[in-house]
Symmetry: C2
Subunit: 198 residues, 2 copies
DNA sequence: ATTTTATATGAACATTTGTTAATATAAGCT
DNA sequence: AGCTTATATTAACAAATGTTCATATAAAAT
């Protein structure tokens, strides 16, 4: 691992501070101090505070899901296994330290930033709904699951994932154990599958 | 309706501003200005800014669910109707203007306030899980639904409600129509019931 | 009517904030 | 070597913040 450039250090420190205090309270001085430089030196790397935030925003939506959305058509035929894989991917992201910080920033700033709201619906919701709907549709065609509206089914499926992730994010912020919630992911797949399998 | 006292006006203005800007950005001056007084006058009613916030916090957890948690033992026997009633109550709160504002404050400040986090788990999660678990348990005993872990079932049930409410809160912040999400509540009951009914 | 009490104002305060300017220092290039 | 460029520091700024104090004003109590 190559040593971080000052700009990268700034971004890293800003991420951490914003995820703990929010954008407004994560002052330029605190960020610079964490990096080990003065506030003024920071302006050699970013033109202003907002630009640091915009840089961080890009990371939030740098999808770690890209690989899992490939062969839906084939994988969907595997029924429950498909759901299991999808959830495993979701779980992995939920427990990833970096993703956790970015998710917290998303939650913290979602009401202060319209673009954030729009991208939440697009990247966190619609994208998942699309993949899942396609999979559920195929499962229905192949009589693996009961017939129902694929969109509704997808909505039901991801809502629980979001809720678990939300709770994980809260608990980890207080360093509270999340082992219960970890198993909740598997319970979700089991319970859900029992309810839709034919 | 009796005219509001200055203290009540301050609380009201603070609620609105905090729910839109967050605690940090909702300055004492903005609050006072909205009320129509100077900042200094505000301190005749509250000793400091935090006290206003603490006053508002109490409203967040002034449960509007208290009535619905009464005759669970009887109502649970009605099966799907029980769930429908539960969701109707939840839906009512989700679309209530005052509750919407308070819920937004909860989401905005949940990472800045440990007490808020704890009470979220207690009032928004555990309390619901408890009522639902009891109901599902009774439904299982009476063979209305398939046998499963009542806690898991409850978790699955409320997670979707939370997700819908979260999305409603986001959309209404931008004055975007929520009719789709309104029907999502009913779809949830229908879909869920199909998956658990025996 | 006079005194007391509650609530308003205006001005000021000490901090904290984002940002900039002048200047020093160290690294890279010719 | 000297010159250029990148990046650091110190100092200062204007604006915004929470809060306080002396004082005015209007309502309530005697």
């Amino acid at each position: 691992m190559s040593p971080l450039s000052t700009k990268e250090k700034i971004k890293l420190a800003a991420k951490k501070l914003i995820s703990e205090l929010g954008y407004k309270s994560a002052s330029v001085r605190k960020i610079a101090s964490d990096v080990g430089i003065r506030e003024s030196a920071l302006y050699n790397h970013y033109t202003n505070k907002e630009e640091i935030f915009l840089d961080i925003l890009q990371d939030i939506f740098a999808s770690p899901f890209s690989t899992s959305t490939q062969n839906v058509k084939e994988d969907a035929l595997k029924g429950k296994l498909f759901l299991h894989r999808f959830v495993t991917q979701y779980k992995l992201v939920s427990f990833d330290k970096e993703s956790e910080i970015l998710f917290r920033i998303l939650l913290l700033e979602i009401f202060s930033n319209k673009g954030l709201r729009e991208r939440f619906f697009e990247d966190f919701h619609n994208k998942n709904i699309k993949v899942l709907s396609e999979a559920f549709f195929i499962m229905m065609q192949n009589n693996l699951i009961r017939s129902s509206d694929p969109m509704t089914m997808s909505y039901e499926f991801i809502s629980t994932l979001f809720y678990i992730r939300f709770q994980i994010t809260l608990l980890r912020f207080d360093s509270i154990s999340t082992t219960n919630l970890s198993t909740q992911f598997e319970k979700h797949v089991d319970f859900f599958w029992e309810g839709i399998k034919v």
